[in-house]
Symmetry: C2
Subunit: 226 residues, 2 copies
Amino acid sequence: MTARSSSAFNEATEVPEVVVERLPQYVRALTRLSQQGVAVVSSQQLGDLIQVTPAQIRKDLSYFGRFGKQGRGYSVKYLLGELRRILGLDREWRVGLIGVGRLGRAILSYPGFAPEGFKIVAAFDADPRQVGQMVAGIMVQPMHRLGEAVHELGIGIAIVAVPASQVQEVVDQLVACDVRAIVNYAPVTAQVPSLVRVRNIDPVMALQSMTYYLTTPQGSTRTGGK
Amino acid sequence: MTARSSSAFNEATEVPEVVVERLPQYVRALTRLSQQGVAVVSSQQLGDLIQVTPAQIRKDLSYFGRFGKQGRGYSVKYLLGELRRILGLDREWRVGLIGVGRLGRAILSYPGFAPEGFKIVAAFDADPRQVGQMVAGIMVQPMHRLGEAVHELGIGIAIVAVPASQVQEVVDQLVACDVRAIVNYAPVTAQVPSLVRVRNIDPVMALQSMTYYLTTPQGSTRTGGK
DNA sequence: GTTTGTGAAGTATTTCACAGCC
DNA sequence: GGCTGTGAAATACTTCACAAAC
């Protein structure tokens, strides 16, 4: 009978993490619809687009408010704006990159972050040969500059692209600098305090979990029929 | 192909997908332990390493068999071998890459696939200017060669790195060529038949689901452990 | 007519807790 | 002593189904 269950004194119901992870998908789909000039969408239509059931979408949205109109559906623009606000996407996020090797350079050159409001404003590397170099318009700084730079530039998020052996050390430094959101490209699980979020980008693991299904004949899991 | 499989266990109960997705994590951790010369590991120790509860690990493994010894734990080498066999990682997988733009080239040069048994053996692009070029030792082929190449080279998995607007078309072609596992790097959800597996690699979405927590002050949820 | 929002019902997944074994 | 493997219990998540709204 441990007294570990600290009471949940949160506003309403705690939003499940799995719901939060689906919201960006909705944002994506709504953005496309908006670009296509679609003004209104039903949960059914949106669900068809991203392979989620209409009930799931409605339930997910209900954690945050009431955004639809019965009989009509959702205003694409309004719902998109609300979701962007909820996710904190209505501002620019300044991002720091750790590790400017091959992978880090590819990340710096990736044109997909900026249009979504994620601006890489600083790059760091432990290798003195990298420090001082300009990469994609950014001067590579030594690791000991991390804390200062995080504060000066208002960096809230870090992308880690260092060798696996250095990940934990780098992550510890980031946590010490009050960075609470980290995208990790290295194939290791970093240990972080519970208030810090880590997302791993790991194509090898993605492959490895699919080979199971190529290897093990799937006995008639329900087929899509509709 | 070895036809002999341990039928007794995995046939009865369908293995939940979330379990299959955790197995590669176990493989990763066990590989490291093995390299470090650790011979035996308990579910507790393994769980500490990858932030999974010991009960979860034991339950997950129980879907596939009994690999441990009471009072001792698991032989690292043995469990690693069994998991690799279960996931189908005890063979080489030949992979096709679609799209050799900036991102595709980075993927081709990424040194992390081969050591894990994933060999990119062919590359395709719809752009005639790319066709015929050599990239990382591979000749870029036109899309109409896809079906033939998949068969000739025994390609079982595809990596898609084409612009978002072309993803669905490319995925349809892959499905038509009997490719049943796809890693998609583009920021769109592709529609596939239920027997085809898709994993999306999407750093922007990873960022977008973390900003929620940076924006919304998290009350409760204290971690006990240290 | 259509479609939302939501309690209730139904599944899925995780955790508990302990027998059995080392 | 320690630790696994596993039914049972507890949670978490998804889907149902329908009143209310347009």
